[in-house]
């Protein structure tokens, strides 16, 4: 689809009238300040206003007013999301893998949210012990209430901003449509197959209206909830009759901004929809029609906002009294209907029973019958090592992924070309360095894996664990690197020898151990020496080991393995005669 679009665009590109294209841009496309400054800014403000409602609820529940500081962060996230969506929808970005880019963007935003939440909630500079704890157990850093809720809010506003921006980007006349309609009418008829696909812009406007209205209701309810005076709720049984705290200026501004900006955006959406229709229907629109539209809509909004400010508000106003009366009579009629419906049944029941209704006794409270499983007290050395390995791996992977995301995010935005990162070679060197680091980490991880296997074998030599053994057996040797294969041959030999009773001391070196082996299986003394040398070379030498080095060692290992199936000479069972 992408290629098709690009091809069609390129085909049209050859024959378009540049003057006509400019004229169409002027008439049917919003100006740059509107597209790149005002509209994104106002959309972000509107969404941030909506989030203020949610923040107000959180503040009301938690009692921590620092949550309001997150407004700026959420505003920034909305702005970033809108700009990114606009940028991704540009025809030049058609070949870009959007999912990957969005994933990189989200990761960076998540880190930003983490840093921001750290700062917002004054968690200060972490101590050395805290840092060590975070390194050891990264989940303690992430599984943090403040961070998780901020991340959730960030995710909500990011999603809303993306949706909103998508709607407005699609509503706007696309570059492809402009180029196609800059062709003369006769050519357009000839190139019917290149005609842009029509889609329902009206439905997009409806989608915006729906989401705006839902958001507005949510905001109103959230603000309503946040203004409930908790103390009065505790005293009174009717929640609607509870006391009300006064509306904070912050919430008042959020409410006003949300609805005013929403109405203005509604006007913009309508304008874009109509302009797109005019372009597609070859309607000659005035060049200043857009400005007139915007001016008039702003004028009407300002006028209404001004007039509304002079009208009476509150429960004493006429409109409120009318609603009061309507609701009162509505409730009264509803009660009457319910009473009339229930009355015959109640009378019937009274005839049969002749008793009052027993007072309902509250059910006995259930006691929890299960016990919490006791936490494992302390961890073994092995467990700690595993945790350290996992956390190291996690941090390494995280750092690399973040760096890659950062590079991808900014490289695609062509920051390098704009002078923010001037030295391209520096980037390449950095990438190469990252690759090397990654390769080393992998090497170290493999080495560690072997060591761990060995340690585990050593630890659990007395306890047979068939499951673990089978896992070991099913290791695919050919998939390992030549160096690892050599190490595997040696380590498996050590394990088998251990199984036969010739165990390696934890403090023993391979050269010390080989003497024991040779003593136990003298038939394969040379093979043991070769295997040990190969292991030492693989383990400690930095020289490259190629695949050609494997076959002779593998042959040796097979011979040794065959021999190891027999009992060792030194631990052979004593002969019957000798016992006697």
């Amino acid at each position: 689809m992408t290629k098709l679009h690009m091809t069609s665009l390129a085909r049209i590109d050859e024959q378009i009238d540049q003057e006509q294209l400019k004229s169409l841009r002027r008439r049917y496309l919003s100006g740059r300040p509107m597209r790149y400054v005002f509209r994104p800014f106002l959309m972000s403000v509107m969404l941030a206003a909506l989030m203020i409602g949610l923040l107000a609820v959180i503040v009301e529940v938690s009692g921590d007013s620092r949550w309001f500081r997150a407004t700026f962060l959420l505003f920034f996230i909305a702005l970033e999301s809108i700009y990114t969506t606009n940028w991704l929808n540009h025809p030049q970005q058609l070949p870009l893998d959007r999912s990957t880019y969005r994933a990189a963007e989200l990761l960076l935003l998540l880190i930003l949210v983490f840093i921001a939440s750290w700062l917002i909630f004054d968690q200060g500079i972490p101590t050395k012990d805290m840092l060590f704890e975070y390194l050891r157990a990264p989940q303690t850093l992430i599984l943090n209430g403040h961070f998780l809720i901020t991340a959730l809010l960030a995710a909500i506003i990011w999603r809303l901003a993306t949706q909103l921006s998508e709607i407005f980007t699609k509503l706007q006349v696309s570059e492809f449509e402009l180029r196609f309609h800059s062709l003369p009418l006769a050519q357009r008829k000839e190139r019917a197959e290149d005609q842009p696909i029509q889609f329902g812009r009206g439905e997009l406007v409806d989608a915006f209206v729906r989401s705006w209205l839902l958001g507005g209701l949510l905001l109103v309810f959230a603000i309503g909830f946040s203004t409930i005076d908790q103390q009065s709720v505790e005293k009174l049984t009717a929640p609607l009759a509870s006391g009300r705290a006064s509306l904070e200026p912050r919430l008042l501004s959020a409410l006003l901004l949300y609805f005013i900006i929403g109405l203005w955006l509604l006007s913009q959406a309508r304008l874009m929809n109509i302009h797109a229709r005019w372009l597609l229907n070859n309607v000659n629109a005035d060049e200043n029609a857009r400005q007139k539209w915007q001016r008039t809509s702003l004028l009407i909004l300002a006028l209404v906002v001004l007039i509304a400010a002079f009208l009476p508000i509150g429960s004493t106003s006429a409109i409120s009294q009318i609603i009061n009366v309507v609701l009162f009579w509505g409730m009264a009629i509803a009660y009457l209907i319910i009473f009339l419906l229930i009355l015959p049944f109640a009378m019937l029941l009274a005839l049969f029973s002749g008793q009052g209704i027993e007072e309902v006794t509250p059910p006995p409270t259930l006691e929890p019958t299960f016990m919490q499983p006791p936490l494992e007290s302390g961890s073994s050395y092995f467990g700690e090592t595993i945790a350290m390995v996992l956390s190291s791996g996690f941090w390494s992977v995280l750092i690399i992924v973040v760096l890659l995301a950062l590079l991808f995010y900014f490289r695609e935005r062509r920051l390098a070309g704009r002078g923010l990162i001037k030295d391209q070679q520096l980037i390449e060197r950095f990438i190469n360095w990252l690759k090397e680091v990654w390769a080393n980490l992998r090497k170290q991880a493999r080495s560690l894996q072997d060591t761990l296997i060995l340690m585990r074998e050593t630890e659990s030599s007395g306890e047979e664990n068939p499951g673990e053994r089978s896992r070991w057996r099913f290791l695919r040797v050919s998939s390992l690197s030549p160096r690892d294969q050599l190490r595997y041959f040696y380590l498996s030999t050590v394990r088998r020898a251990g199984d036969q009773g010739v165990k390696r001391e934890p403090s023993g070196t391979p050269n010390e151990y080989v003497d024991n082996l040779k003593q136990s299986w003298p038939e394969v003394e040379e093979e043991f020496d070769d295997l040990t040398k190969a292991f030492l070379k693989a383990r400690y030498s930095s020289r490259e080991i190629s695949a050609e080095d494997i076959p002779p060692v593998k042959g040796t290992w097979k011979e040794v393995r065959r021999e190891l199936n027999q009992k060792p000479t030194s631990v052979e069972e004593p002969m019957e005669g000798s016992e006697e």
């Binding site: 003369p184 009418l185 006769a186 406007v205 209206v209 729906r210 209205l213 507005g216 209701l217 109103v220 309810f221 603000i223 309503g224 203004t227 609607l240 009300r244 509306l247 008042l252 409410l255 006003l256 609805f259 005013i260 109405l263 509604l266 006007s267 959406a269 309508r270 304008l271 929809n273 109509i274 005019w278 229907n281 070859n282 309607v283 000659n284 629109a285 005035d286 200043n288 029609a289 007139k292 539209w293 008039t296 809509s297 009407i300 006028l303 209404v304 906002v305 007039i307 509304a308 400010a309 009208l311 508000i313 509150g314 429960s315 106003s317 409109i319 409120s320 609603i323 009061n324 609701l327």
Partner: protein
């Protein structure tokens, strides 16, 4: 609808939760809704429009059409979409739809052009108007500016290009017959010339001037011509009847224009149908946009008789005649041989009758011969290609009238004969 639901919900929430500020939001929403509902219908009611153009054009001309719009109210109209209906036959490769904004008491002119490619009576418009509010809260308002009509005359070709002699038809008659002058209608005096009758000398004026002056009179009998246009479909070849009937109309128009330029009275009698008179309501063709005869109506005869315009001189009469020729359509009506005598009955004696038909078959020639015997001066003009037209010409000569073969320029290369032979 959505906004109304929001307003009601906000009102209920404001009342139940007792948040006074929500009333303010409600007022704003209500204000926007009512302004949207009121603004556009109000300004649309105060919108005046008109269409200005030259409603008559000759085939091949370009007609400039101007749409004038004025917002007579003080409230600006934020946007107005105007879509003009143009007949397909007149369309050019340009859009006839505009989107404009009209400020307080502002006027706007919208201009476009149509190409009068083919004769006919066309409807220009109606112009559909659409406008709406700026927030999409109410349905768009619509209106329209009624249609106007454009008459495209048939093409007019000089007689020489038609292959006819320029002195036709009056030249030959003038050489054989004197013009009758009416002594009751003096038109002045002139110098005496040799050969003037003595009875024509104005003695009083001569005595006063001291040289001989002769009386001049207005002619009592002018040389009238009636064009008898045969548009009976059955007379023409089935294959190309449209093509040849159109050509017959062009020939008729060209002759009429030529005669009018010579200040000769000219009339038109046709067995075609004028849809303007035949139909009760105007029916325009979907494909071309021309006014066509409604085939469902059985008013052929009335239409036919309605296209009888007796000879008159003057520019106004020519325009009337050309208008009829612009609208007239070929139909299955009545054959020329059956209709000639009736059609020519209102004409005075001595009128030249130029019968334009497909070909001069024997029946047609006999009908024209009857006209000769009735004291008319018929001329046959055949418009369909005919290999044996020489025989027709000879037959006509024997029956006392002349016959011409007038073909379209595309056919003339094959069929044009030397000028002298045509005029024989």
């Amino acid at each position: 609808m959505n906004l109304i639901i929001l307003i009601i919900t906000l009102l209920v929430v404001a009342f139940l939760l007792r948040i006074d500020f929500i009333y303010y939001i409600v007022y704003v929403c209500i204000g926007i809704y009512f302004i949207s509902r009121w603004l556009v219908p109000y300004t649309m009611r105060h919108l005046q429009g008109s269409r200005k153009f030259n409603d008559h054009a000759f085939s091949g001309e370009t007609v400039d059409i101007t749409l004038l719009w004025q917002n007579t109210s003080r409230i600006p109209l934020p946007w107005l979409e105007v879509t003009e209906s143009i007949p397909p036959e007149l369309r050019r490769n340009e859009s006839a739809a505009w989107a404009i904004g009209l400020g307080s008491r502002q006027k706007r002119r919208l201009e476009y052009q149509v190409r009068a490619g083919r004769r006919g009576y066309y409807q220009i418009g109606p112009a559909r108007l659409t406008s709406g509010d700026l927030f999409g809260l109410v349905q768009p308002s619509s209106g329209q500016l009624g249609p106007d009509y454009l008459t495209v005359y048939p093409a007019i070709i000089p007689l020489v290009e038609l292959g006819l002699p320029s002195r036709l038809p009056f030249g030959t008659i003038a050489s054989q017959q004197r013009l009758f002058e009416d002594p009751a209608r003096p038109a002045g005096v002139r110098e005496y010339r040799s050969g003037d009758s003595q009875r024509q000398i104005n003695w009083k004026a001569s005595a006063h001037a001291n040289h001989l002056l002769v009386r001049r009179y207005q002619p009592a009998i002018s040389l009238e011509t009636a064009i008898l246009l045969d548009l009976n479909q059955a007379s023409y070849e089935k294959k190309d009847w449209r093509y040849h009937t159109e050509w017959a109309i062009i020939v008729a128009a060209s002759l009429a224009a030529h005669l009018a330029n010579q200040r000769q009275p000219v009339g038109l009698i046709s067995n075609g149908v004028d849809p303007m008179l035949a139909a009760e309501g105007l029916v325009f063709d979907q494909d071309s946009g021309r006014l066509l005869h409604d085939e469902s109506e059985q008013s052929v005869i009335s239409g036919m008789t309605a296209t009888s315009l007796l000879p008159h001189s003057g520019r106004a009469h020519l325009m009337k005649l050309l208008e009829t020729l612009a609208r007239i359509e070929s139909e299955n009506t009545i054959g020329l041989d059956q209709w000639t005598a009736t059609a020519c009955a209102p004409l005075t004696w001595g009128v030249t009758i130029m019968a334009i038909t497909a070909a001069g078959d024997e029946k047609t020639c006999q009908a024209l011969h009857h006209l000769v015997r009735s004291g008319f001066n018929p001329i046959l003009i055949a418009v369909e290609p005919d290999l044996h037209f020489g025989r027709t010409r000879e037959r006509a000569r024997q029956l006392g009238f002349r016959a011409y073969h007038v073909l379209r320029s595309a056919n003339l290369e094959l069929w044009r004969q030397p000028h002298g032979s045509l005029a024989q």
